[in-house]
Symmetry: C2
Subunit: 699 residues, 2 copies
């Protein structure tokens, strides 16, 4: 029982470590006046965006709070839900916000550190990533701990078994705030960053023929702002949600699995252990002076692998200590999740790295034009869904069987949920290796714009290019855990509805058979919702990018002396266009996430909702993998050509490859990652509004 | 009981009508010597391709026959299965073959008729489509009738109830031959036609700047051959399979619904009635001389609507006559399918026709380059999945509830199956309006190559452009019926396995709950299989198109006087490249279709297979709709620009739009339509190998 205290301790350690790293970064030398000026512009743009985003999101949260409060007063949801909705949203948003604050401090400092040595550059960028990683896990554990203790106190009069049921079923509803915020941050940030990126590339690189990050390009600051608001703030909020979701789903399934409080402790304690393992691992991230992708990658990987190894060792003692030797299978479930995450990441790299065949094949197809680049890239992405699906499948069946699902079905479902916790246990450090990428990217941009020695740019490029690889690995974890957590949520949904049915004596029984038309139609609608969602986000990027193109063209034409470098472009107008475009879509997107399960629930009842969630999870997972990998592969195929293959920079092949890269941008950084969130948001909404749907559904 | 005789009568009528139309076409005037020469080249290429395809497919069918025969001797499948496999394959192949033979006769005759009047041109092209339509339904009903009477005789000793069970469960396995042949024809033909089309466009239009169908382009004959082997022969085999599949699934579900022989009769008799209704409808297809899209379209639609109205009227008497008034709900199921098919077709037109906003939006996005065209086109396609999914959902729930599924679950499933029969009942004429498109397309090519009066080309263009719209409607029926039939197959699969379990006293019970990990993993793999399948086919098109590009470039360079029109290109080499490329992929594709359910079945058992089928149906349906509509919209956005919008022909916008069209080609004509087939093939394989999987599965 006392082990539970490890959760707030882990939270505190993570936050202290993040604070320590953050202070260290802020004390570093920022660099020349030019570097400072550029960094300031990026910072101002990023802050302006976030201020606006939080204002819009704040209004939405207030509206939802009122709605949930009313529903709470009417007895449709627990009265804690509106408050938990707020804390989840605030912590999720805060994770992204702090991560971004540090990233916009660290970018210039990374540039300046790279003027000295590659190792110093890596250290700064990685530290910035680490702040984000540990803020996410720290806040996640903090939120979970606070509510656990509040509810434990509130329900103190009940006997243990009943208390645990009340605590977990109430806590389960808490992910909704985090999911909503994550969705807004990912989609808003994703639209911003890709609209700027695509717009900047289309006019700058393709039409005007000026290099990337050239200060003459009016969209260049927006592009660098985008790295921060999308790839940093968006990812932070996203993974906060994944982390909390994985733990919550395990907690609630512990009850029906018959594990009671011990089963609730396992995910929290494993997560807390992961924090400590990640801190230890992060001390091993360093490299020498030679600019070699392999060395840099092994530097980062060393940290991740050490953390993973620690988890493998310690969680054995946690499981056997808390649950006893007969539950050793749960331990293997944790490991299977950890291995699956690494496996998915590895294959993501295979499909997106130009050292391997698929990306080379895309690069080669650029010799016959952009149409074949698109066709080949799409088919590589589609093909790349096979292995992750098989890995997730193996992980599901292995964690189900080993945890004892053949004898106790619900224990098997708990095993699946806990495997997602295993996968995310090292999040502190995997996120650090992932979130460092955009910092390095920014650092390169600053070096270019400030006109520093090309050697500096070479170093930041080495860091940046590595960032693409670690991002693929990071996405493996995000995507794999999303699939497992979403599956656990379906089980948790069933549990929570059955609890309501039992408590309120409602006449309802699940028929989750595939042949039940409610389930079947739910499956169809769930799959379709992910496609429609992807369409909305991609369309938003396309539209905003078109606006940026027109604005950049206008500035090139109207501002005299711009192309000669004598006049400065109007950077702020591009930032403004992206900001507005991003905000415009958020309501639509929220409607899909929140409206779909409500409408399906009211029309088709809880069976239809379960079908919806299963359809969204399966189709969404596949679509998300495809989009992430197509996008990554196009990006790297273009880079491969830029390295001098198939005609090199400026050739027709290169132009064709840039088209692929541009299409890939919203795939990999807007629609793809946001799909993971919408799947879980739909599950959360279904759970929170469970009683409402139970009461009012038609069929 | 005697009504059953309507099936062979319907078959005979359809075949006689097709023969009559075919003879009429062959007696028409072919035209000038030049027209004849060009038509001959196309005919030779098409025949060469089909000969080669049937040789390869023949070997595969012999191998499968032996395998099934051995399994039959071992008792794993009924001994009728290997023979039925062959008849299904032969009739399906024959439908495509005859359709193509007539199309390659009709193309030049349509050109020549267009030198006289538009109405005459329409009549020839439509007659050719009608031959195909009626051959498909004729052979379909013939195959079903023959086997019904053979089995009825074979099982004559059994009491009626048991006899019907034996007849239907044996007949159910008969779709596999048709599905296999349809897959080969669709994929092979689809790869051929799109490789030629893409290759011809990439070098001819984009690089060399010569118009479409210019005789100097070495790939131009291959392109016209492709229209015949892909859009005609492929579609014929495809819809044969859909038609037979819909009827078969209804027949087998009639038994568990408790309808026995009367329930088996309904789909057969409705189908037979549909033949007669279609023949009547086809007499109403004619137009005046004014070249107006609207007039032409209403000419074709008049025929379809008259046929549909006849079905609506007559099937009321069939249902009430055969089953009695208490089963009037079955009648409404039939109507709901018919309405759903028309609805899906209508929205397909909305999303792909340049009169409406989505396609215009794509055309507009071409002003900012090919990347935005691709992004916008993909998002239009993804968005367009919403309505068909909702229509299918409504159709499923309506036909389930109205047929009485709330009281008798299995009767509701029968209602879903019969709604697919309703949707396909007018196939004779809907297919005619669909299959006429490629004939008109070819006629235009011949007019261009033979250097006829531009007025002729204008008329064939009017016919061709209309073909794109009717193709969208036709695809609506193909895709909607595939979804409904595939759902019915899942139910039929469960029935057939339960029959085996009961007969052989096997210890197995279905657990089709969404939470069963076997089902869940099956769902994932099913969804993934459709993505991988689409990837293979698209990749094949991309690779073959690249080869065509290189070959055409080579000929342009090496054959002196080619560009000046003084020397003739080597057309045969391009035909050869496409043929080889198409054949190469068939084995891979067959492995996905046949291998996936076997592997999943052996690993995860019948529950996993049911999950697989549900996952493939839902994800596959959505993906197929998206691919069809993106492709159609890109095609028409390009045409819209060619009409003079956003810069018109030759502008940068046009070039960008051509990239979209090129990407769309394998979407709409290779991968998209083939997905419908692979879904049903997987279901068929699961049913045929049901006993084998029951015996040998691991989990």
């Amino acid at each position: 029982m006392d082990l539970m205290v490890l959760a707030p301790i882990g939270a505190a350690l993570a936050l202290i470590f993040a604070l320590y790293k953050g202070i260290k970064i802020s004390k570093m030398e920022e660099g020349t006046q030019e570097v400072k000026d550029i960094a300031k512009k990026i910072r101002i743009g990023a802050n302006a965006y976030l201020r606006r985003q939080y204002k819009g999101v704040g209004l939405f949260f207030i509206a939802m709070f009122i709605l949930l409060f009313v529903l709470g007063c009417m007895g449709y949801v627990s009265i804690f839900v509106p408050f938990a909705f707020i804390t989840g949203g605030v912590f999720s948003g805060l994770s992204g916000f702090i991560g971004m604050k540090i990233a916009t401090l660290a970018n210039s400092r990374t540039t300046t550190a790279c003027t000295k040595s590659l190792n110093k550059g890596l250290k700064v960028a990685f530290s910035s990533g680490a702040v984000m990683g540990f803020v996410v896990v720290g806040f996640g554990l903090l939120d979970l701990s606070i509510w656990y203790y509040i509810l434990d106190w509130y329900y103190r009069a009940l006997p243990v078994a009943e208390r645990v049921v009340n605590i977990t079923s109430t806590m389960l509803t808490f992910g909704m705030g985090a999911s909503t915020m994550a969705l807004f941050a990912r989609v808003g940030g994703g639209i911003f960053t890709k609209a700027a990126d695509v717009g900047a590339d289309l006019v700058g690189k393709v039409e005007a023929g000026i290099p990337e990050d050239d200060p003459r390009n009016p969209a260049v600051i927006a592009d660098n702002v985008g790295d921060n608001v999308g790839d940093v703030a968006g990812m932070g909020a996203d993974l906060y949600e994944s982390y909390v979701g994985a733990v919550l789903s395990s907690c609630v399934l512990a009850v029906s699995a018959g594990l009671s409080l011990s089963g609730v402790m396992i995910p929290l304690v494993v997560a807390a252990t992961g924090v400590i393992a990640s801190i230890i691992g992060s001390f091993f991230v360093k490299t020498g002076e030679e600019v070699s992708q392999k060395k840099l990658l092994s530097a980062l990987r060393r940290g991740v692998y050490i953390a993973a190894a620690l988890i493998v060792g310690v969680s054995y003692f946690i499981v056997t200590g808390v649950l006893g030797n007969e539950y050793i299978g749960i331990y293997f479930s944790i490991i299977s999740g950890l291995v699956a995450g690494i496996g998915i990441g590895f294959f993501a790299e295979y499909y997106t790295n130009s050292s391997y065949k698929p990306t080379k094949h895309i690069a080669e197809s650029s010799t016959t034009g952009s149409a074949t680049v698109i066709i080949t890239g799409l088919s590589v992405g589609m093909l790349s869904t096979a292995v992750p699906v098989i890995i997730v499948g193996i992980s599901v069946i292995v964690s189900f069987i080993l945890s004892g699902g053949m004898e106790n079905f619900n224990l098997g479902l708990y095993g699946i949920a806990i495997s997602a916790v295993g996968m995310l246990s090292t999040l502190g450090i995997t996120l650090a290796t992932d979130a460092y990428g955009p910092v390095a990217d920014n650092a390169g941009g600053i070096a270019e714009m400030a006109g520093l020695d090309p050697e500096v740019r070479k170093r930041t490029d080495a860091l940046d290019s590595l960032g693409n690889t670690t991002a693929a690995t990071g996405k493996g974890f995000a995507i794999g855990s999303a699939a497992l957590t979403a599956l656990a949520f379906i089980a948790a949904y069933k549990d929570s509805i059955e609890l309501l049915v039992q408590k309120n004596n409602i006449d309802f029984a699940f028929n989750l058979s595939l042949l039940n038309p409610q389930v079947l139609i739910g499956l169809f609608i769930g799959g379709m919702a992910t496609f429609v969602f992807a369409a909305f986000t991609m369309n938003a990027v396309g539209n905003a990018a078109s606006k940026i193109v027109l604005e950049v063209r206008r500035q090139f034409k109207e501002i005299t002396g711009l192309m000669e470098g004598k006049a400065e472009p109007d950077y702020a107008s591009c930032v403004d266009i992206c900001t507005k475009a991003a905000q415009k879509e958020l309501i639509k997107v929220a409607l899909i996430g929140i409206g779909t399960p409500l409408v399906v629930g009211l029309l088709l009842g809880p069976n239809g909702v379960a079908g919806l969630l299963a359809g969204a999870t399966t189709t969404g997972f596949i679509l998300a993998v495809m989009m992430a990998n197509s996008g990554g592969a196009w990006d790297n195929a273009k880079k491969y050509i830029e390295e001098g293959n198939f005609g090199g920079k400026g050739s027709d092949s290169h132009k064709a490859a840039v088209v692929g890269d541009t299409v890939g941008d919203p795939f990999k950084d807007t629609a793809g990652p946001a799909i993971n969130i919408i799947i879980k948001l739909m599950a959360m909404v279904s759970i929170v509004f469970g009683m409402f749907i139970l009461t009012w559904h038609i069929f």
